[in-house]
Symmetry: C2
Subunit: 357 residues, 2 copies
């Protein structure tokens, strides 16, 4: 059976991960490097292009090679920052990535792949925000597969949420949609938010905010992360209080947003979602307490793909775009279809394909 | 030039309004009756069917008559309650309409139109929630015409909001989407909400909630409505405080939801939106204070169609469905098109067509 494959990239503030992903979800190869976050956009683009090369190694079983029925169809990138997915550009970004705002992300990668004669040269390169890529992964192979309306919450370094309608992330009018962390909540009253406003969910509900709350309450400075605070919450009453306040703020807000959007399912991902039963149970109970009666029983489930979700979702971007283009092309004149057949024969493949959970 | 027309119905807890609406937005006839809210679903359906007859009078210039190029294409209904717009049924409703939950709304109207030999007999009947119909009207002819992503807030007896994507109201997985009033807000802490939960926006931000807050604060019982409280807020410091609290709660919540959904424009409608400068200015300032920098300058505008919006939007439902069907029908076999030509010649028309604002 013939398979299509794509390279998926998860580009975050601390690391860049890449995977060669088959259209059945099998990850054929993976690679990762620390993000050169302080070295400017060109250095980041260089690192991404090198990673594409690393997951497309020389060999005999590569997608598109004579020995393989697989064909490579493109590269998808889920990137930190506000991404214009139509143009493939970085609209804005925080200081976590120096010089990232304004970058022509897909153009920069395409140019590098062409210049290096990559097997992916001249194939489509697509990009979206990394939280949206994560949600795409969970919709493709994870916790909200098959749903028509899903809210995928990410609670970690920041707090975001992707509204998926028929599997498509909603981007809003300025590519900014998804900033769940910037709803006002009582628990954050007076606290400065990363967005420059005050009193927003992210100022109490993110991992760094939970940790900061713990320290403000007199917690032990030896515990230096939100995860550490969650881990000691069984014995440390200050830690317990901080976890409860942060998880309650998130749960209440998600419950209210569910009343507004009526999703089929809520998926909760990110570092805090896996930080222990106290956080999860508190968040889940606070969420349920806000739901209107018609929403009683709304499924609230943890994400299942873990750190691979954004790589898989980014690959899905490229695979889905290829499907869309192939479908549309059936009625195009022959000379317009040429670009759709730029499928590259690859000289190699990794030796141990693995199936994701 | 030939025009299509449709009957639009706005079915609320206190009144039912009907209009015969042309596809250029002209309202050819209007009628209204008090809602027989305590008499059960059959009485309400009877009243709606009678209103359809009232706006389709005998005469010589009626849509579809030999003297008129206009054709009647259907009936659209915007109704209070949670509406399954696909099936045309009432999923649930508050006690404001006795026995309304479970009603086969479009089926009941179709049966009555057929039984009475109405000119609208056998034409499509469509239904949606009244807040969504209002938003459809504003998108067709009003404050968010031409926008791809709009949030239309209704602040009156309740607090709701329709998210319009490409002009289509989002209904969610259980037809419940739009319940903006059921997000938690600090200003409503501890207050019981109409939905059975506590601490939601609607418990402080709706008209009745604003009035109740005024009385709790020691306001003058001679002022019996939220509008009256707004009117005296210039001289009455208690009234002023109640208006500021209610408007701030709404504005902050809408600002936060805008950060999440990134609409092109926010339209604010409902009784409170027209209740004076103090409410509007306070709401608008609170909203702006929450916006992330990329959303600075988000247009927040009042609705412009007033009480006609839901009638126009309901008519638009039927007009748009007719367009969709005609479009789809061009490739159908001839015998499948018969049902699409059930356009009724009308014997009359009103004498003074008027153009809506």
């Amino acid at each position: 059976m013939s398979h299509r494959t794509a390279v998926g990239i998860d580009l975050g503030g601390t690391k860049i991960a890449a995977g060669l992903v088959r259209d059945d979800g099998t990850v054929l190869a993976q690679a990762g490097v620390p993000t050169p976050a302080r070295e400017g956009a060109a250095a980041i683009l260089d690192a991404v292009a090198r990673l594409v090369g690393l997951v497309l190694p020389d060999g005999v079983d590569a997608p598109g090679s004579p020995g393989s029925p697989d064909v490579l169809v493109g590269v998808g990138i889920g990137s930190a920052g506000v991404i214009d997915s139509g143009r493939g550009t970085v609209v804005s970004a925080t200081d976590a990535l120096t010089g990232w705002a304004g970058t022509d992300l897909t153009g920069g990668i395409s140019a590098r792949l062409a210049a290096t004669g990559s097997p992916a040269a001249h194939l489509p390169v697509l990009a979206d925000n990394d939280v949206h890529a994560h949600a795409l992964g969970e919709h493709w192979l994870g916790a909200c597969a098959g749903t028509r309306t899903a809210l995928v919450v990410a609670a970690g370094t920041g707090v975001g949420a992707t509204l998926l309608l028929d599997g498509s992330p909603q981007h809003g009018a300025r590519h900014v949609a998804g900033h769940l962390g910037h709803l006002p909540v009582a628990e954050a009253a007076g606290l400065p938010c990363t967005c420059s406003r005050t009193g927003h969910l992210e100022a109490v509900g993110s991992g760094p905010a939970l940790h900061a709350l713990y320290l403000r309450l007199g917690g032990d400075p030896a515990h230096t992360t939100a995860r550490a605070v969650c881990e000691v919450a069984g014995d440390d009453t200050v830690a317990r209080h901080a976890v409860v306040v942060a998880a309650t703020a998130l749960g209440r807000t998600v419950g209210g947003v569910a009343n507004m959007l009526d999703p089929e399912v809520v998926v909760v991902s990110g570092g805090l979602a896996g930080a222990g039963a106290l956080w999860w149970d508190t968040m889940n109970a606070a969420l349920a307490t806000e739901l209107m009666p018609p929403l009683a029983g709304l499924p609230v489930v943890p994400a299942v793909l873990g750190g691979d979700a954004a790589v898989l979702g980014a690959a899905r971007l490229a695979l889905a775009a290829h499907s869309d283009t192939r479908g549309a092309a059936t009625s195009l004149p022959q000379d317009l279809e040429v670009g759709l057949d730029l499928v590259t024969a690859l000289p190699s493949a990794p030796s141990a394909p693995r199936r994701n959970p």
